[in-house]
Symmetry: C2
Subunit: 449 residues, 2 copies
């Protein structure tokens, strides 16, 4: 994993990954287990896991590296180097040149700013934004980053209130930066991407959401490349909200995908974020090459506004064999104003016998609840006219949302109902394309892309 | 589309697809619009759309084909040919040779036995099983089909009661046939495939589920090839329950995919049924070639039994930003015994603030509800140990189901709870591999395959 001079030293000292080593520099001393080098890290850095479970990158220029002879846990010898888990000095800290184009980075939590808590063995969100960057010196070559941290939360616990706060922070940062990067947990990254797509009006600059599927203390961490590519997008001419994550399992390039047409499709792979019913907007390489895959709105002087009104009384419901329509009554009874049904096939719900959903749908729509349909297959387009059963659900009041993803439909429904009290107006808005959430034509190559 | 002698006649008569034509045979007369030939149809057949909206295939041997001179709707001249929409005689009807190996075909409804109702424009389930086969004379070359029709229903309205009836019918037919084909609507075909996978014990022969994404009056109908390949599987040495549908958009081959590891991933494509976290069991060509892609249990003398006990009080619930845990209380209050949560990422649910799901999960599990977790990403494996939030959901009682599909997990949960009153036993059963629903290792090539 290590190359050049460091690898020579390690060889000479018979040091292997996992060995306890000692790195001594003028006035500094680090002891701990040698970790694999993180991809795209500084080539002159060794990564050491200290006994407090904290990984540090140490620039080895002018340092002496040797096998440690102590067996007992080596604590950090120079306490002043660390304070509340923050990197203070002596480590490879990225220094930005203010004359370079400025990009704002808004951190919100998630794996990309997490590390292993060696007490519990789990991963917790502890890292400071500065720490996240310590191992990515390449960023300083082409960008000056400004870091903001409006809140920290693991993404499965995000709510519309976080989206609103975030949209406002993004609009604020766009005023004085070339583009904005949002770092975020991957679990619900696609929901937030959809929320920002609807909430940011008159966008004239790029807004890039970036996460990591693997934590930074793993050799296979993807956070660094995603961030570097994200910064390339933030400086590009693409005025769009999208997710920038690994395009393949290799560390070759990332894909920048439209915020309303993307979904986490794998629990752990680095290339988990895939476009659905769409192509990526662009392929992005860490060195700055960008290959557009479709037409993207150009950067302009337009000043983005955060338009964040949101109705939180919305829900997603699955339909499936034996599913109980009582769930609709449950939400309607709780005063919900909008529901997205994940419907089967071309837009059906059970229509037969005691399991028929039609009555509950009719009752809800009669009360003014807006009931929409999206495809549980994820890929493809609804067409409720094909089967009598689809037509029955239309007659009961379901608005079928073309090829919109269920998750995007949910976010959009909350946003739309935050903007109007009229169900008719809301129906019209749900079928209006605001942020690329509905595509006119389905391209063959967008299936399982 | 037409070849050989028919294409010569069409050329000579200047007849194009869509023209109104007249086919006269001894004592018979058909008038209507010339449709494209259905793939794998009898090569000597023209397909004519009659004015009653009904497509018929007419064997043109000894027939006179000409352009029709009438403009007015041509009804069927020989009324006795049709009765209640059923094919009576004179059409190409498949005749089976009883000396050929016998396969049972159990029809249940769905597109494969549907056709357009020209009054409403929608597709309804009207076709008789015999009719379904009228255009697939190739079947008679290698198989003798016995047709059963225990019930007819569009698949979105199926329930566990249908699965039970079907499992019993399959077990019955397996006693005297080489294999069983089940034709079925595609909307919930994968649920039924999972149900039969669990309900059929000691399987020694193939059980093949087949559907059609396009109705038979469309040139692009896939039903015929799926059925032919399904019959090939039914005669094969693979003793497994699986779905046999188009492998690609072309009519080249089908894939036979394990019943617990398959999902409808597109609303309309013919190759919509894809393996998830698994490879297909085999590729199957209409001419009978079978290329296995993994080890499949071999045909044996084992006699299948239908083990159909099922608890219907089970549900699938999505978790997502802003989702209300009240839904768990709702089901627990209705006496539900099992819930499958579609969890985010590696197995998380919202854990923070008023939206936290932990309390409701704990309350339900405390009452004896079995709460399981499956991945809403569909692909990949849960690993709740990685994040503190995942560990919290485990502590609240969630049983994380490895790489099991949410839909499969739902069916399995109903089946497991139908077999035991003990929650501990049910937990153990949920994590036991009965029908390939859990794979030990995740293969890279199974992502978006």
């Amino acid at each position: 994993m290590y190359s050049g001079k460091i690898s020579e030293i390690l060889k000479r000292e018979h040091i292997n990954i996992g060995d306890r080593i000692l790195v001594e520099k003028v006035g500094k001393r680090y002891e701990g287990l040698l970790m694999p080098r993180i991809e795209y890290g500084n080539r002159n850095c060794t990564v050491i896991k200290l006994d407090n479970g904290y990984n540090v990158g140490v620039d080895c220029k002018g340092a002496k590296i040797s096998k440690s002879r102590t067996k007992e846990p080596a604590s950090v010898r120079e306490e002043e180097e660390f304070e509340l888990g923050r990197v203070k000095k002596g480590l490879v800290k990225v220094k930005f040149d203010k004359r370079k184009p400025r990009v704002s980075i808004i951190t919100t939590g998630g794996t990309i700013t997490s590390r292993v808590d060696y007490k519990t063995g789990g991963v917790t969100s502890l890292m400071s934004p500065e720490e996240m960057l310590y191992n990515i010196p390449e960023l300083a070559d082409f960008v000056s980053l400004k870091i903001e941290n409006p809140f920290s939360i693991m993404s499965e616990s995000m709510t519309h209130a976080h989206w609103q706060k975030l949209a406002k922070a993004v609009a604020r940062e766009l005023k004085h930066s070339e583009g904005v990067i949002v770092t975020h947990g991957t679990d619900t990254l696609h929901f937030t991407a959809a929320a920002l797509s609807f909430m940011l009006k008159d966008l004239g600059k790029p807004v890039v959401l970036v996460g990591a599927q693997r934590s930074t203390d793993r050799g296979s961490s993807d956070g660094a490349i995603n961030l570097i590519c994200g910064a390339r997008v933030a400086l590009s001419d693409m005025a769009s909200v999208g997710i920038c994550m690994h395009g393949t399992m290799d560390d070759d390039y990332c894909i920048f995908t439209r915020g309303t047409k993307v979904r986490k499709m794998h629990t752990s792979r680095r290339d988990a974020f895939r476009p659905v019913n769409d192509l990526p907007l662009a392929k992005v390489w860490p060195d700055g090459r960008i290959e557009k895959m479709q037409t993207v709105p150009k950067r302009s002087s337009s000043v983005a506004k955060a338009d964040t009104a949101f109705e939180e009384k919305v829900a997603i419901i699955k339909t499936y064999p034996g599913s109980s329509p009582s769930i609709i009554d449950h939400y309607a009874g709780m005063g919900y104003r909008g529901l997205v049904l994940e419907m089967t096939g071309l837009g059906q719900a059970p229509t037969y016998g005691k399991n028929s959903w039609l009555k509950s749908i009719e009752k809800a729509t009669g009360k003014g609840v807006l009931v929409c349909g999206a495809a549980e297959t994820l890929y493809g387009r609804l067409n409720p006219n094909v089967y009598s059963e689809g037509r029955l659900s239309m007659e009961a009041g379901v608005v079928h949302l073309e090829d919109m993803l269920p998750e995007t439909a949910y976010v959009k429904l909350g946003w739309v109902l935050g903007h109007t009290k009229s169900v008719e107006k809301a129906k019209e808005m749900m079928l209006t394309n605001y942020a690329g959430e509905i595509t006119k034509r389905s391209l063959q190559e967008t299936f399982l892309a």
